[in-house]
């Protein structure tokens, strides 16, 4: 293995990234009995519908309580107003079992105490679990909304001594199903996944709890689990054939599971994933890639593309780096790769233009402008919305990067002569 990148470039300037509210777009799908009420401004509401691209649902399970001029006058009235809005919401949606009050920049700047509001409201509606977390742009970026949500959920888990494995990270149902099947074939029981589909699931945390992450952006939830006495099983993230294999293997090693049973369980999917990747490899091998900081998945994905498909990561930007979570994947990156943390978007774009990478992973605001400069791009947001974890999705994940390249190769608008 080559030497890993040693230095992290820290930048501070204009960020070009969503705020944590955006996480609600997938969290609400994962939790069908939950409603997310953003306490914010018209901007927050507009972000939600713009990031969703289209208005997909008749009545989505998220909404914004938009602060208006009159609300800013007095704090007492504001709490009353919030109570009124929640009453309106819960009477319209009696199916709601848990309600998240989600903080935004405006609610945090005026110091509206949503924790207080949540406990007051829970006193009124005892059949609904009500809690709060921050999705604001002054505290969180994009995927950190999920982190904040999970940290809140972890803080509310009951104590328990029985050994269990808690896996943190919202995965599409099909992927979560595959993962659970593998784990049961490996002989692991008492597996819990957060966030849960069902509010009534009994999950506990205690000194005999081990936990793993499927998403690399769960810093606060990770800290909260540790604080509650659980033990983190360190592993790189389960992308690609090797990533998935090693992630599961880390559990085998940590728990002293039967190695043979594990090899049996993973043999087929592991081989399938490797085969599939081998077929895509020629399209990606040797191609350079540049990650703008966006979803926090950048380092693990760069590891996958570099190690398993032979791509050359020029720069891997992350909104922020948590060494305790990212080190394993980062160590597998080549020495020439620049890791950058934070952002000054204009300086970073200057580096993109200098390198002219074969593919640039970036947010929706930057993709077309870069394409217009003749650079091929991949929208980062698709990596968050598409099933990409574990063996069976390895080829799909590689395909997300291969497709834009293939497309730019296909188009030919010159005259035939």
């Amino acid at each position: 293995m080559t030497a890993a990148p040693t230095k992290i470039l820290k930048e501070r300037g204009q960020h070009e990234v969503f705020c944590g509210l955006t996480s609600i777009l997938w969290l609400h799908r994962k939790m069908p009995d939950a409603f997310f009420l953003i306490v914010g401004s018209r901007t927050c509401a507009h972000l939600m519908q713009s990031a969703a691209g289209v208005m997909i649902f008749a009545e989505p399970r998220f909404a914004t309580a938009i602060l208006e001029e009159g609300d800013l006058a007095g704090m007492d009235d504001m709490h009353e107003e919030l109570d009124r809005v929640v009453a309106q919401l819960l009477s319209r949606r009696p199916d709601i079992k848990r309600l998240f009050l989600v903080g935004s920049c405006p609610s945090e700047v005026i110091k509206l105490d949503l924790e207080k509001a949540a406990s007051r409201l829970h006193g009124i509606y005892d059949h609904v679990a009500i809690c709060n977390f921050s999705g604001s742009g002054i505290e969180t970026t994009f995927t950190q909304g999920e982190d904040q949500c999970l940290a809140t959920l972890v803080s509310q888990l009951r104590e328990g001594d029985e050994p269990n494995l808690v896996i943190l990270g919202a995965l599409p149902d099909v992927v979560e199903g595959q993962m659970k099947l593998l784990l049961s074939q490996m002989g692991v029981s008492n597996v819990h996944v957060l966030p849960t589909t069902n509010h009534d699931d009994d999950i506990w945390v205690g000194p005999n709890t081990s936990f793993m992450l499927t998403q690399p952006f769960l810093t606060d939830a990770w800290q909260m689990m540790t604080r509650r006495g659980a033990t983190y099983i360190e592993a790189g993230f389960p992308f690609g054939a090797e990533g998935s294999y090693r992630w599961l293997r880390a559990l085998v090693d940590a728990w002293g599971l039967e190695l043979e049973l594990f090899e049996q369980a993973v043999a087929k999917p592991y081989a399938r994933a490797k085969d599939a990747l081998a077929r895509i490899r020629p399209e990606l091998e040797g191609k350079s890639i540049f990650f703008m900081p966006d979803s926090q998945l950048e380092v693990p994905l760069a590891r996958f593309l570099h190690e398993e498909l032979g791509m050359r990561p020029m720069e891997v930007g992350m909104p922020y780096v948590t060494p305790g979570i990212h080190a394993t994947d980062m160590d597998a990156l080549p020495e020439y790769c620049l890791i950058s943390e934070g952002q000054d978007v204009d300086l970073q774009l200057a580096r993109v233009r200098k390198h002219r990478p074969d593919i640039t992973v970036c947010g929706l605001g930057l993709a077309n402008p870069l394409e217009a400069e003749g650079l091929t791009t991949k929208w980062a947001i698709e990596l968050v919305f598409t099933p990409v974890h574990f063996f069976e999705q390895a080829a799909d994940l590689a395909g997300l990067f291969a497709r834009p390249l293939r497309r730019s190769g296909l188009l030919n608008m010159d005259a035939a002569e």
Binding site: G13, Q14, H15, E16, V17, F18, C19, G20, L21, T22, S41, R42, T43, A45, H46, L47, Q49, S50, A51, G53, V54, M55, A58, E59, P60, A63, T64, A65, I66, L67, E68, E69, D71, L72, M78, E81, L82, R84, V85, Q88, L89, C105, P106, V109, I110, S136, G137, I138, E139, T141, D346, G363, L364, G365, L366, A367, N368, P369, E371, A372
Partner: protein, 511 residues
Amino acid sequence: MKLAMWTYEGPPHVGAMRIATAMKGVHYVLHAPQGDTYADLLFTMIERRDHRPPVTYTTFQARDLGADTAQLLQDACRDAVERFQPDALLVGASCTAELIQDDPGGLAEGMNLSIPVVPLELPSYQRKENFGADETLFQMVKRLAKPCPRDEQISCNLLGPTALGFRHRDDVAELTKLLGEMGIKINAVMPLNARLQDVERLGAAHFNVLMYPETAESAARYLERAFDQPFTKNIPIGVGATEDFLAEISTLTGLPVTVDRSRLRLPWWSRSVDSTYLTGKRVFIFGDATHACAMARIARDELGFQVVGLGCYNREGARKLRQLAEEFGVKGLVTDDHLEVEEAIVELVPELILGTQMERHIAKRLGTACAVVSAPVHVQDFPARFAPQMGFEGANVIFDTVIHPLVMGLEEHLLTMFREDFEFHDAAGPSHHGAKASKPIDNLMPMDEANVPNLGDGAPVWHQDAEQELKKIPFFVRGKARRNTEEYARERGVVEISRETLYDAKAHYAR
């Protein structure tokens, strides 16, 4: 506090972005947290712009709040001027920055920058996107337009086309052509593709064409006061409205209306016999006030529809819309709550909805035909081809747009004739729609019924023979037949609907 799921308009600073992004050589420094950068994708993704909007966001974070966010803003202004070398700078706050009260406009003005600074104060907790655009344009014009001698040739400015506007790009081209045919020169288009010099020279025009009151009315009024430039009151969307507009311009300029009408096709397309089936179609119209009002007139006078509902989401246009609605004998609906719009649609049971992207989604759920005729926009509202709404070509485009979702005339008759044949089974839908319209209509029935308001306990019960008979009615009118019959039954206290009731109702509603 207002509970909102979807919104018709963004916050006011997005309106300001629509002005800045439309222009050339103008940069906007926006005091805002990082999440607000989402607004860039409206322009790059929805409108497919190939450049980033010219906006620098200060992206302050929580940890900056105690420290010096004002410094952050000044640094951002300095960097932006150095890096992008704009001719003018807009400076303002988003909703969050408004709360920390840094006075970005004042701070920037105090910096003695080498270029003109236009400070923007857009009250985020009171107003919305259209206001933001209108106010920004007004401030720019007020600060930057200079008195100058009138052009020798009769000329005008086109006011209001912005970035992310509904067909603004093509409306400008169409009006330029029409006015050109009358010998009128375009002095400046504002703000679309305008530079600082264009703003400065606005006063050279003889009059202004106010294309979209939503985004340019304040500027037009200001120019009328300051430079004695009259502005047009007619919005040239539709055949009649375009003629009114041309006549108005003729009065303003003394020039005869010398335009080429040979390319106008709507009138004949509408008179030709295939269009007979359009007669009396019940249409519900919703959008910004300008487009909604224009569309109402087209629907009634140029296509022969029956307008059963008319509404707009922008308060600023409420008066105009309510007036027109009254004239049309319907109640004007002014709301920015899409649930209210949906309720109105369910109640009025239109056969066609002309609305925004929001109504398109409502229509999809209800299985009603729909065409998009107003902002808010989505990516499909930026077609690659020339597709204006204004002028003669605009009228042609509107005819096609509005007719497209409906079953074609001849096809409607064929469907009735051959409805028992398997190719024409009820769920087939209009043949030119591929998968989209082929929703099995019967599956929509339960939802349809759930939407009938207040059936209550006294809901009439359908006899089997009546149900059978109902099935024989072509699917695209079946929902209406069902509702009419029930309505008829309820009004008469009939609790059981028989085959007879069905035909009694049919006779009653025949038109």
